[in-house]
Symmetry: C2
Subunit: 151 residues, 2 copies
């Protein structure tokens, strides 16, 4: 993928993360792309949504699945500003996401390159291609500013 296109999708995810921050939620944004078109968007909103599962990735994948009328997001890419947690990585496997692109690493809560490293588990039933570190500084800065302001 050309670098400019990659930046464009991650910038759109970062805009969703900023929306989350403005609403007082941890700033994470995600989108699902199929054939170059955005078919699902998610801004993290567990607090406002009264929903412990309302992470950006889950919201984006649910919207995309509704759009496609199926529970399988075959051939779809997920773009997210932060390394997915175990819940979201598990959902990515269930959804059969083809490629995962993420921004900042998450040593504390991430489950892709940290903790359980879910896609490296022998029992995982689907492994997406994984590309981390896209617009990493911007994504990390958003989170740092958010948590800094709350201290």
């Amino acid at each position: 993928m050309p670098i400019e296109q990659a930046r464009r999708f991650m910038e759109a995810a970062l805009d969703l993360a900023r929306e989350a921050a403005a609403a007082g939620e941890v700033p994470v944004g995600a989108l699902v792309v199929k054939d170059g078109a955005i078919i699902g968007r998610g801004a993290n909103r567990p607090i406002a949504g009264h929903d412990p599962t309302a992470h950006a990735e889950i919201m984006a994948m649910r919207e995309a699945a509704t759009h496609l009328g199926t529970d399988r997001l075959t051939g779809c890419d997920l773009w997210v500003t932060l390394e997915p947690c175990a819940m979201c990585a598990g959902a990515i496997a269930h959804a059969r996401i083809a490629r995962l692109y993420y921004g900042a690493s998450d040593p504390k809560g991430g489950a892709v390159e940290h903790g359980p490293r879910l896609f490296e588990q022998p029992t995982i039933h689907h492994r997406p291609e994984v590309y981390g570190g896209i617009c990493e500084d911007e994504a990390a800065e958003l989170l740092k500013a958010f948590f800094g302001a709350r201290r």
Copy 2:
């Protein structure tokens, strides 16, 4: 907890699993209990719901969180007929479920006593008390009959 009360909750979860089977979904049922009252119910329905995240546990926890008007299910118990997968175990941790009661073990897809053993990971931010093997035979038989009929 008296054994009769435990059976009663798991029987209610098994009824939800039977509902899932009747709808052509993998038969798993779940409920969330707070102070002895059922406040969330879930029957597995990813196919009908066009939602890769629509596992019984997720449905039950979302309903309970809506009911309580918060994203934290503090002091709540989750009853589910099958060992939770990584997605659901991650959601259980996010929701701060106090006690997890499950029926059949799932060596292929389970993430509690199998695979990533999520609650034993150093990075997990919440660990529920875990009780497995409740009405195990009934729960396993339902799944066996379902997959047997599809072969």
